[in-house]
Amino acid sequence: MNADFVTVLWKEWKEIVLERSTGSTGSFRPLILIAVFGIFVPLRMGPERFFSTAGLLFPTFFSTIVITTVIADSFAGERERHTLETLLASRLSDRSILFGKIAACMAYGWLISISCILAGAVTVNIVNWHGQILMFHDAASWLLLLLGPPLLGGAVAAAGVLVSLHSTTVRQAQQTLSVAIAVVFIGAIFGSSMLPMEWKTWFARILVTWSQAELVLAAAGVLLAIDLALLAAGMARFQRARLVLD
């Protein structure tokens, strides 16, 4: 299982990187992302906002957008390019194929977001240099930095695999996934505003007693549960016969 997982991860990683380093903009494409979100945006934010928990939410969500664009390709792309059946006819187990693909997409999203954060940290330090290195200074920021991209990215990647498994084309998978994410976010915003006032008050009373670090940990726990549920759903829907005949 481990060797097969690493093999699938290796192949997926090569494909993701090669796909994103071809064409007229070529290997500059990831660099353009890092230049915009790792230099330009942190410059506009300034040190106070950049080195804060709220400031870290931006690169965390940014990593999920990157994952959305690559995960849609995972199965729909193989189906579109007629490589899926050959992959399924190999000795690879269902789990190694599924987890290898998810892990490669998560790793790519995580790498891009970490690169943006590192570039941002260097940029903000250079522009605001007063003889002392500026850095994230509270536990909540570090927790968000460590747990945010993998857990949120994991949820998006697992949901993306579910969509991609049964999409005919990459475009269809990308559109379905984008709509699903938009529905979840808009639903969460409108849903929370429509809650009865006594519920909101009860919830707010609990939240104000928690520290930022505790809030991040609680959110991480919820995300972990969502990740596991989506992974279980992905495993249940990964059926070779159905994939071959789709």
Binding site: T7, W10, T22, E85, A241
Partner: protein, 310 residues
């Protein structure tokens, strides 16, 4: 009895509206090159999917290398190689990386994998371009690489689904030569589906003919030729009308009658003389200039079987 690589007993697969495979019974001896012949939609690809354990049969059973396809698909896939309907190549990757991926999937040790990649790519004349992305290659080169892939880990059984389909005659002939050489050298059982009769005659020691999911005949190419092909007679001349063809087809000794490249082709049952049919042609208003007779080819057998089943 020779050891069997594949045994299918009453293998049947039905989809919602069609029976893609209907009561297939075949034995494929280990070490043979087995040709599975049939027109498009005959059930060839479904058979391979069933034998690889990718889909389950509706009824019947099959054993591949001693493993049950219903319950031991993973064991079968670990011991076989398959070139399916499409080449299955990752075109963004290089040829070397494509082979390296499937070599790693087969758990080949690195040194052995490196050596095998070099051996196969050199044999197929692709070694110098191994670092190039496959997307830049010609179709013939891609198909050669696609054939190298299932042979990489020296499996005991290789499934090849129409390996020369879509290639120009020169590339197809070259690929057939490579395939014959590789099969001989490796000594694996090869299950080859094709609708190219010349290919089947050249490569296969045993062939089966399938149409609309039903097995029509099975045997060696020579055996099938003598059994069903009969005598092929080509008649050059003029005035070969549809009425004449219909009249010829009604004759008991005529297996097949058709006009091919302006010539009337008759496939007669063994022992039948051609003279009565020449008289019939003349009676029907035809003009005979030249008559040539010879043993029917596998293609004639195939076409006869297709005609009989219509």
């Amino acid at each position: 009895m020779a050891e069997l690589a594949i045994r299918a007993l009453g293998l049947t697969r039905a989809f919602t509206t069609v029976r893609a495979l209907d009561d297939l019974n075949i034995d494929v001896p280990a070490g043979s090159v087995f040709g599975f012949l049939g027109p498009n939609g005959a059930g060839k690809t479904t058979t391979i999917r069933l034998l690889l354990g990718l889909i389950e049969p509706t009824s019947g059973s099959a054993h591949v290398l001693g493993f049950d396809t219903r319950t031991q698909g993973a064991e079968i896939r670990a011991r076989t190689g398959a070139l399916l309907e499409h080449s299955g190549l990752y075109e963004r990757l290089s040829a070397e990386d494509n082979l390296r991926f499937y070599g790693r999937v087969a758990h080949m040790p690195k040194a052995q994998l490196d050596q095998r990649i070099q051996e196969l790519l050199t044999h197929l004349g692709l070694w110098d371009r191994r670092k190039e992305a496959v997307v830049k290659w010609s179709r013939g080169m891609k198909q050669k690489l696609a054939i190298a892939r299932p042979l990489l880990h020296r499996p005991g059984l290789v499934f090849l689904d129409e390996p020369t389909a879509g290639l120009d005659p020169v590339a197809a002939a070259s690929l057939r030569d490579d395939l014959a050489a590789l099969a001989t050298r490796q000594g694996a059982t090869i299950f080859l589906t094709t609708h190219n009769m010349a290919e089947a005659e050249k490569l296969c020691s045993l062939v089966a003919v399938i149409r609309q999911g039903k097995l029509l005949a099975v045997g060696s190419p020579a055996g099938l030729r003598s059994r069903g092909g009969g005598q092929r007679t080509e008649i050059a001349g003029r005035g070969f009308s549809d009425a004449m063809l219909a009249a010829l087809r009604q004759q008991a000794d005529v297996s097949q009658a058709l006009v091919e490249n302006g010539r009337l082709v008759l496939v007669l049952k063994d022992g039948a003389g051609v003279a009565p049919f020449i008289s019939l042609i003349v009676r029907e208003g035809g003009e005979v200039q030249e008559v040539r007779s010879g043993q029917g080819s596998l293609e004639d057998v195939f076409l006869t079987l297709m005609e009989e089943e219509k």
